[in-house]
Symmetry: C2
Subunit: 195 residues, 2 copies
């Protein structure tokens, strides 16, 4: 998605060898017009798949997932990373390890919000090692729901997540695919392919 | 907002004497069409106020705040409750005590996303004791920005938050105002007024 690649080039900051900071339009400050455009693109890619539910993980996934749900007019459910006092129902849970934060979280979705009738599109901001998406796929399997695919805002092709999902036969649509960071600059997969 | 009051009556669950669970359309499963309608209503109320930024707190505030930002076409910034490795800039911080969870959090917004030129609309899912909004107003004051008002999805008029904001002269627009819980049912303020 050119709009997103241009935005990453302009406003993204590469830190070290594998971190891309996009906190000025995606995961701290959020550009609503960009979210809307991304939601429309995910809809274009998955609109014929009879999606009944959009799933993501708090917090950074919520904005792109809501924008996508607005296009599909289906509910969005965000997995919570810890239980609150007002969330005591039976829960589907999965463990998610964050390489960035070096911590492990339990993510949880209430049973009542995911059923065997659901056809689910996962939306997330990043696909790197794929731990968050993996946790959501486990929850979807537990619920007996159908995983239709995963819509990713930014994929790092050089980390393990994409390969893992390909091996599971999950259809993945990534709006920007980053192949490498070179000299503090982002190299997109389509540029690398063109070389 | 009748659409929201009807939804609370239909899908909200009263727990004990002061907790309203709305996890099937607002803060776990999210109804995107309702979010859009709420965003449009906040726009209607504040569109002439030259808003430059929408502020909220992760995670439950993000969906209504994004929907509102989509109407205004201005950036939405969500305060983070804990620092991540990719967020090392200078931060505005405030302490927020959650009566529901009985825990205290630090919320933080990067300096670069809030300036003295900003005219800020706070959006949040609940106004009860007002601690989250209070934290955001402190951050807005630290940044020298202008607080234009607060748009609240559900206000509990019988807790202290509204009075605190009124005393500070903050313009508050609440889409649903709950005056009491009686026999497990919600009593809205406009119903009580009518009695």
């Amino acid at each position: 998605m050119k709009l997103l690649e241009d935005r990453i080039r302009r406003d993204g900051t590469v830190i070290g060898t594998d971190v891309l900071k996009v906190d000025n339009f995606l995961n701290h400050q959020v550009d609503p017009d960009l979210m809307q455009a991304m939601g429309a693109e995910f809809y274009r890619q998955f609109h014929d798949a009879n999606i009944t539910k959009i799933l993501t993980v708090e917090s950074s996934g919520i904005a792109p997932a809501l924008a996508t749900a607005m296009e599909f007019h289906v509910p969005m459910v965000f997995a919570r990373k810890h239980k609150s006092l007002t969330l005591k129902d039976d829960l589907y849970t999965a463990n998610v390890f964050s390489f960035t934060k070096q911590t492990s979280n339990t993510i949880a979705i209430a049973h009542k919000f995911l059923s065997a009738d659901d056809r689910v599109l996962i939306i997330d901001d990043f696909l790197a090692n794929g731990q968050a998406v993996k946790g959501l796929t486990e929850i979807i399997a537990d619920a007996g729901a159908t995983l239709v695919g995963a819509g990713i805002v930014i994929e790092k092709t050089f980390q393990k997540g994409r390969q893992m999902l390909d091996e599971q036969g999950v259809r993945v649509v990534s709006l920007a695919r980053i192949a490498a960071f070179a000299d503090g600059q982002v190299v997109f997969a389509d540029e690398q392919d063109a070389e």
